[in-house]
Subunit: 372 residues, 4 copies
């Protein structure tokens, strides 16, 4: 199989190239670019020397040569390539936001500042969070080639942390807070002041408070999961932070508990250390989370006492989840960790390819998290 990657010189694209190079079902790669035509991938990333060698060609050439196409392009740029792919009978996996909102063009427009280029493509597109939409991907592909809108990085870690609480009736109606920190690769390859080493090293900051584009995507995912189990969509508050690390997203999520899941009655204004009651309730919820994800190859519900840390999923496609409760016994505190470039981008896209092509879902994604 020839697999194409358009936008191969960006961080997500290059990570795709790295992962696909080790995939047992990928025969060869066709790499495309919109800005570095004529360059070679191993010159852009000398890490690849001796392992991957390929020119960067026009996107059109990639589409023409490939049996499956990934695109890691800025929002709004890839739709015509997607159309061409569908026309020639080839599926298209898109890492931009263009296909994350299905036919809800209004939300897309409100947050991304422009409308869809070819709205009708959404008839053949699906939001590719496997833990939410694996079946949808399988259903859609029965009728021919599909477009997969690969999820954003923050939405992946946030949604996976909340899903079981919504699906299993643990969350009380109301507001869910997602407080997340991302590594700097999330800002992409182009130098910018915010990601200039002296500006961001040795410092943590919040940014786009109450205004980040991933908010509606997370919100939609939560609404979808709530709806499937007949519950009301929660409200969402999402605050992203920049942390001085290369990769990874840690999400700390606050979910009000339904009465039956609370421990120790009313929230106490003078809090106290965790009670036996809280420990028991947390153990129960942890069990439910573990059961919910028991068939998922890339979700690890951590043992009690181990808290999610981005360092523990480094270079892997895992989403780690740890479950705790506040001292008052009224709020579930879920912490999730992903590698933003793998499960949060390129790895998840490969996972969708595997589902789409009928490969083993973990093929090409078997890396054990790097220890350091």
């Amino acid at each position: 199989m020839v697999v194409g990657v358009i936008g191969a010189a960006g961080y997500a694209g290059a990570e795709l190239v790295r992962l696909l190079s080790g995939h047992p079902h990928v025969g060869s790669l066709s790499l495309g670019t919109v800005s570095l035509e004529g360059e070679r991938i191993e010159n852009v990333y000398p890490n690849f020397l001796g392992k991957i060698s390929s020119p960067l060609v026009k996107p059109e050439e990639v589409v023409a040569a490939s049996d499956l196409v990934f695109a890691a392009l800025p929002h709004g740029v890839g739709e015509t390539y997607a159309r061409t792919c569908l026309e020639k009978g080839v599926s298209f996996i898109d890492l931009s936001a263009d296909f994350r909102f299905d036919d809800d063009e209004e939300t897309f427009k409100a947050w991304y500042g422009k409308g869809y280029v070819i709205p009708e493509l959404r008839k053949r597109s699906v939001y590719g969070l496997p833990e939410l939409n694996r079946q949808k991907i399988l259903d859609l592909k029965k009728d021919g080639p599909v477009i997969i809108g690969n999820p954003g990085c923050y939405p992946t870690g946030a949604s996976l942390g909340v899903f079981p609480a919504l699906a299993e009736g643990i969350a009380a109606p109301g507001t869910i807070i997602v407080d997340a920190a991302s590594g700097v690769t999330g800002g992409g390859r182009e130098p910018q002041r915010s990601f200039h080493f002296p500006e961001c090293t040795d410092s943590v900051s919040a940014y786009k408070v109450g205004a980040h584009r991933h908010t509606p995507e997370i919100s939609r995912n939560l609404a979808e999961m709530a709806s499937r189990s007949g519950r009301k969509a929660p409200s969402l508050i999402f605050t992203p932070h920049l942390a001085p690390m290369n990769r990874g997203i840690l999400s700390t999520i606050y979910i009000s508990l339904l009465k039956e899941w609370q421990a120790g009655g009313e929230p106490a204004s003078a809090p106290r250390p965790p009670s036996k009651d809280i420990e028991a309730k947390v153990a129960g919820i942890r069990q439910i989370y573990a059961a919910f994800y028991k068939d998922e190859p890339f979700v690890r519900v951590l043992p009690q006492g181990v808290t999610a840390s981005t360092g523990r999923v480094r270079q892997s496609n895992f989403c780690d989840i740890s479950v705790n409760m506040d001292q008052g016994g009224t709020t579930l505190i879920v912490v999730t960790a992903i590698d933003n470039m793998v499960k949060g981008a390129a790895g998840q896209a490969v996972q969708s390819m595997n589902i789409l092509m009928g490969f083993g879902e973990s093929e090409g994604l078997t890396a054990i998290p790097a220890l350091f």
Copy 2:
């Protein structure tokens, strides 16, 4: 004036030494240790070579020699030195948790695992968060030497971010969430696996979720501020994180708004970009915060559009505060940044000394935040 520092070889103690060395009213220093007797401070910290030169002596010698004593010791170790100080008419500024809970020994015991050594010392002690208790310090010192319980690092950044919302009737009754990230110096000088470079660099993690000892201290501060304006104490959820940086604490704080401060009505399940209404409300709240702190020398309410970042308070005694709102218009999101070793420890202790001794409150604390 001879100023003593017991525990001078620990991180907070050494930072105190550094700050006091530049203080215009400090004549000389007497440095004490419980574990490194016979060493010299400039050998423990070669940074000090040519600037500070002093033996590390027994705590008793420090007490005997000093007109004012700081202690940066583990919890439960310093009470006898405090008593001796009071007996000889000298004030004692304590950086441990021993004097943070006044006569509430029960809470202290519940969280720190042991009772007070000399409970009656609390008759002469005051919790030294100047923005909360400046007047209390001034009142207490009228009757002779005092003990100041210097606040914890997290409680400083958290409390200052919430106070105006409680005092000025912006916060709705209910739960306040503080999600905070600390630099690694917060773990102290003794090597531990969690703070071993390869274990914590390039990674963010949550720790002691629902179980950190600073929770009751923050909670008590919020209750105190609420009580002063005749309001009910809020509940508190506090989650600490470890970030791969040396200094600093960033606290992101979620406060439900009273109806009159909300914008745009009901929380929307499909969120939207910030509205004009939200911008106006945020501007109003920012004004209230700025007015609340207008006479505080070390609190900077940041201009609209500038978000708090630990890199901007580095090496200074400032607490930066930025004010925002969620897209739903129902929750205030306050972000605060402090240097955990300065405003979160040694600098705040010096600030209390200045108040206590009648010096200008900023003396010895005039450092402009380092740019990098």
Copy 3:
């Protein structure tokens, strides 16, 4: 094949476990410890959860169960296990310094402070730097099980950078200087003040100047290579540095050039930008380096204009080499980069196993360097 790892809980041991888990010829692992008996590897390293699950048993049990044994133990601890292995007909790959000096016990004693425990084991041991001793390994194994002394991290990067200059008559007789910087994982898993995050982050320092134990190992390697081509052994100066990064060693190596390889005559006291002559000479030497390593699977002689960087070999078994000359045209400046935990430790040990067992030399070591 059952492969044993003694000392599996240390950094090098755990990295071995990670690499061996993905090795196509390794059937199962037996993991041993001298300090954490009764623990499980996935509890010590939660990164392994869901991928590797194994108890940590006594070293004796590992030896009894395995068809090949790796040991990543402190110096002087593993010799008896090595003997038992040989006795039962099993090879032993040792990551300590115990078998790096062959029968030169005097040098070992001078630098490591103790003699050999079982000196006669050196009859069956070989220093396992494949680029130097591949043939020796193959020869020795003809007579039965062998012990491989896996090279130190600094000696690997240093030796590979110098070998072609010695073997091909580029280096003038005299002193070679190796100035190298290591990531902090080189200090191992046990917390120590030097590797405590606040002590080593955001700082570079030299250490053990003129006194590092890897000096005689590098020196011996250079002497060996010089001797093979009938040249005099060079003198060596080696200075290690600690850099605030997790993995990697960068070695900058200064080699005086034989007259015929010099450019532009006498060294100029007023230096000038690189001349055409220098560029041509450098291109020629680069060609010689490339030819020298043309059959080596893990040495990359970088294209002109690309300088070695630890970030480009991250997580891989590569040693990158770049070649330059000083402005005076008299000194070759070679820069090499390795991942200290892979080519500098666990990866190289696996490479030796591959040679020893007749596997493809790159099996289990195919990782493309991580981009970030």
Copy 4:
């Protein structure tokens, strides 16, 4: 006194602003820019909020308003401002390379690619390394306003490490090697790919090997010092590296010893641990270094056993120097550490101002190195 800073928005300029704000003899600041006219310094650097507030005006306005002018501009931009200053009787301290080469325009042109704009300004300029040219500054100012060419960052740390060996007859004739690592602030404020966080964090690399512009400046300094004591100028090899830290330059310097300073005879091909003889010789040389710098307020020759580290001079104007020898006893290994933004740029410029204006040389530069 009104002090002007042109280029105040760059890193070196802003660090100057920070230092000058705390200088006891600086009455007010006039801040200029060539690219951000109309902005305010506290908006560019919110760190300054509440401490420094000033518009950024045209350079001409700064010159008109000031009694002394600093310029931190790109090379070749500031000469006309320098001329205007001289004409109005005001001294000019320049942080670019424009005035570092005195009347040696040829060298400047060879390395910086362009000639002097106003060559005759060099009649009134002096290279401002106080430890080399303090007297020259004092002599020149007798005849009116002067221009000071502030040294480059690498040349400062390199030259101070070599001077005593040259002046006191310790160095043998021949080549001196300076292997140095810089923090990323050395690259300035403008975002570039090399200094983009994901490209440079967690990695060390060499750059501009054999081709860095600071080479001729170091070389000239060494020649000058050699000449003063009637010795031949040494050759120089200089290799810069980029290390993942914010501030600081560590220079490791290799100097061949004159026979009388060597220890233990011929260089040994099988090196051995440091001998008593080496220790004694090193102690002697250390004494000579200490004596050489005994009146210098900003050079610390470290005690035996303490090795220079950038973390120990952080935020200060110190240059730390440690002295060692290789195992062979033939080469002196000097390690120096400076903060590249203070002693390597802004601090040294203030030091020159102090000399020029007759202030105490340490005024405004009394900061104790930050501990973390």
